[in-house]
Symmetry: D2
Subunit: 362 residues, 4 copies
């Protein structure tokens, strides 16, 4: 089953890239919560295509229309549904691709899953565009979390082989810096890498190719005691949503895969009381979560974003109608690198997961 997620905060997602509209229903928002629609728009604009020369020129305003659950600027407590009309859909671009399976795309698995009835236009329900309503929901959750002192942000950990510093390398990351990252299309701790990253993306664009990268997401201000052991650990909940985002192939918390090369005596995060009597740990190798539960340090995780599968280069594949090999050169609009547009999506799902946990009292 798909489309529905959550316990206390329940989402119901729908839509296809080239259908009439995409949208989401959010159940369980507390009544009387005032939504700042400009902030919502700001988050959605971060994800929207066409915002710079680094992304696809498909331009859509992605203005959400709220149909229910919202009155006089506040939530009513009833299900809140928002839709976004698909306006700039050049369906003819995709008409030839019903039979020729694009490598790296969901064409073939989707065809097998839905017995050939899936909407194939522009990847249909598999399109990255379906994350727009998720960003809408996440933006509301981020506002709600902010009232509780919790900030979710992220930076580009790497594009191709170019790496930024890690969150763990910083002395301190303030809520202000976290907010500032959101205004930057290429947020980095080490700003000097920006030029090289920019060049790498534009170079791939010129080649008709694409590049991937890693996003590091972090959560400031999350108190100890949220989460669960079996089966709904914070890691489980976050990973579940993160792997719903197209193009994600890996996730690691805290020191992640590197922790496997540490000794236990190095890996363990030792506790101490700080000057204010707050419990802290000297290192944060566990990324803010042990036993599936927060311990009061920032939640930190990195997500692997694969290079976009849509490239202009010629590729070998199959034509399923003819049942034989085929060559493919995909025309149309392409993102040479999806990473900058994935940042707000990962922040959105993080905010959604935490809101669900906190609303549920766990």
């Amino acid at each position: 089953m798909s489309g529905i997620w959550g316990k206390q905060l329940e989402l119901s997602l729908f839509g296809e890239s080239h259908g009439d509209a995409i949208g989401i229903t959010i159940n369980g928002l507390p009544p009387g919560f005032e939504i700042d629609m400009e902030e919502v728009q700001f988050e959605m604009a971060r994800r929207a295509p066409g915002s710079s020369d680094l992304t696809t020129p498909r331009k859509e305003k992605d203005l959400p229309e709220i149909l229910s659950g919202f009155l006089d600027g506040k939530t009513t407590g009833a299900p809140l549904t928002a839709i976004i009309r698909n306006t700039n859909t050049r369906s003819k671009d995709y008409s030839l691709l019903k039979d020729v399976m694009r490598p790296g795309q969901a064409d073939y698995p989707g065809r097998m899953r839905y017995k050939g009835h899936n909407d194939h236009r522009g990847s249909g329900h598999f399109s990255g565009r379906i994350t727009a309503p998720i960003v809408f929901a996440g933006a509301i959750c981020q506002q709600w979390l902010k009232q509780k002192g919790v900030t979710v942000s992220s930076h580009i950990q790497s594009i191709g082989h170019i790496e930024d510093q890690r969150f763990a390398d910083q002395k301190e990351v303030t809520h202000e810096q976290a907010e500032a990252f959101k205004k930057d299309q290429l947020p980095l701790f080490d700003g000097e890498k920006k030029e090289a990253i920019r060049d790498l993306i534009l170079e791939a664009k010129e080649e008709g190719d694409s590049v991937g990268g890693v996003v590091e997401t972090f959560v400031l201000g999350i108190p100890a005691g949220y989460g669960n052991p079996f089966f709904d650990s914070v890691e489980s909940t976050l990973a579940h949503l993160v792997f719903s985002v197209p193009a994600i192939k890996g996730i690691e918390f805290g020191t992640g895969f590197d922790i496997t090369r540490m000794k236990g005596s190095e890996a363990n995060d030792e506790y101490y009381y700080d000057e204010n009597g707050q419990v802290k740990t000297r290192s944060n190798n566990n990324g803010g979560i042990i036993g599936g539960i927060t311990y009061g340090m920032p939640i930190v995780f990195r997500s692997a974003v694969k290079p976009p599968a849509s490239i202009k280069k010629k590729q070998q594949t199959i034509n399923v109608r003819e049942g034989k090999a085929a060559e493919l050169e995909v025309e149309g609009r392409h993102d040479p690198c999806i990473v900058p547009r994935v940042l707000p999506v990962l922040e959105a799902v993080t905010a959604i997961a935490l809101t669900d946990l906190i609303l549920g009292g766990n």
Copy 2:
């Protein structure tokens, strides 16, 4: 909420390390399925402590007692519950640890989550021991999957800095080889590394320290067309369960984090028809899953297992009752490396996730 997982196959897990019993209820098993209890025992023995000098000397037979849903060797279709009595529980070992928070363990987050009422003896409900009933359920699922031609297995990808070859490096991995790995405590594609790995673990043991590693799990024979886009992708489902296993800090599918350093033209898995007219891909960088759905190639993923937090070395921490710093030297039984015992747990959750998907027709 915790303890319950699944849609078509629903699990309900319970128990604490030093309580009366641990166990699991499995809902949704097809009626009339014959369970080979010896195979179940075999899988459980792989996870059980005390099986070699590489693991904790705590010896428990871990014989499951089936209370319901099982008659004349077959499932009845009603909820199947099995319990495992805790027999070798030396609770006094842990009595001093109610106030002194062990670094890297769930003591502190668990205390915050459950307001000090959590069973602290031997990590209580957070103990790795709670994975025994999961292995029980997974063993049943593996038998069911085998009837459908699906085999789940895994090998040690690395311990500390010592690395095995990857699944992707092999010419072919047969069902037989996959089965053989299960009989090996240190299954490796490159058998020559076994000695070094063994030495590394024993060395850590002598130092009173611990080491981590990476497990690579793979699924042979899984057909195309299982899974979902938003929100229940195969990756989401697997990651959800994998992050329920204590000590896991990362998961990556296919080429994983390395795919972020490839160009799209390298990363895309090109389709072809093999000599039998079967659709295959030349590479398998996506680890058998695109768009959240299988495409007929093996599912491959790696999980990062942190070094066990329980070590003998002296550590700095806090005493929460006294509200001040404390030193800690943990006595008792310890695993210098949990990786060999985690292999069957990861196979179990993989089998559970796939059974849920296949039973649900998606």
Copy 3:
């Protein structure tokens, strides 16, 4: 939590009576299912207001707009969302009623539940109008069930004190008769009661008052073996959805409350093989369900529909803003009797419940 229902077939409902739109998302419809939109329209028209002098003059076409999950006349397998715009909303009618709680309506409990933030216009999310998307979903399910030989229909069992014969009193009820009932605004086994019922409703209308009644719903062609014991019996599943329909205050299966006055020897439905070797029962006091599971006889249940709370007569109540007693005379459009419009809603939820069970293989 509200708005979401189902396991294999998952619904997500949204909307308020005087908001922009109401709608529903349906997850889990099999891909490639062809929907007859005229039949959907027909079912929706049965529920729509303004169809005769027996109902409220509020006229809305209730044309559903399908936004997703539907291509070239067939389901795609992705979530199918339909919305219905609210066009004929005279919000001013309701502006005075924010503070004065209408007896028998959800004004006061809704206000307490949502801390005064619920949309109060025309009962908001509590409006009977929200059942329109349910009828949309149910119409699709009825088409799907018909392909499996299952027909859902209903008749008016009673209006006020005027009673029709029961389904159990009929020699045989054919699929054709069941279909014919759907074209009748006042479907009755005993057609001679129609005039009296009509008069009773119009009389109540003239008095500015309202009348209730009982609906008997029946399902033909449902095979044995669908349903569950604890906790998702067919009765549980049907009752859950039926009590989601506004104005329902009771439900009984088979002989219902009357069975409590029978002896076991009378109540037990004795089995026999009919001339075709089919297992049948001589009586059907259990209404087609025992142990939560169908046994191959028609499912039969009756639902109690209370008289509409919206009446013109003067009523005593409270003004919550002023914190004191108030008198109330509700203006606006009223249904003197909701029963004829509830028939298709009850058929819809029945079809939804059965589709969920059958799709889930249980």
Copy 4:
């Protein structure tokens, strides 16, 4: 799917009448809640067989053994599992009944559902005995509710044609009276009916037959504002659980089916402020729930309990192995009337439903 129920408070039920043990896992109980085990025993004894000449002589102590989630007399917050061993199981009584389908029992539907693999001994998982763990869970919930000022109780509304007064006829029902009812095997508002009811049951017993009845359950002290509109109304939630109890064939809230014969002007419950400024209604025809949400008056509902299907009288039925008609005379232990033992079960499910709603903040 079966066995699992709930959102904030999740139950997982298991067991068969003649298996090793029956039991339940309760997820979501608040940590640190002190359970009075004597009160739990008291509630379980009310349901247990053999307590008087009115019930089956099968004697079981039904002592629950708590396996997890409970330490030093308090909940830990982890899943709480309790099992009850089946000790007095005379399986041979039932051995002949695998092929001969008992009318009114789940033998035939269960056989169809589980393809002949269901445990047929003593009705297996369909047995009323499986409600014992539900009473265990409900007893804990009743203790929790009592701390919030909420009392759940019930009385016998009718046995056969003998009727007690209704809750609605009483001037006032105090928490004390509600508690006193629990100590009475035949709780009635009109005590003079007790003798006649007793005689009726014993008469049925002598005849080898059985009688049914109606139970009226009521909840005192429930505040306004709990529940939901679509789809989880209080009525939906209660009815879902009530119809999980074997032998229930109907449920009605407040005035129930009788409200269908009232005019709207009679049926509407008018609001007023009482001398303490509390909002109340003059009548309670809606049984404490409108729009799916409580309004501060007692919740009142009646459940129809059919006469036990197990009778000694000769019955006509089928032998499914032979595929032909059969005669049946059931030996063994029988309840001539299940109503007195159903009272605590209905109170239990009511308490469970309300605890789930209140814990979830709705």
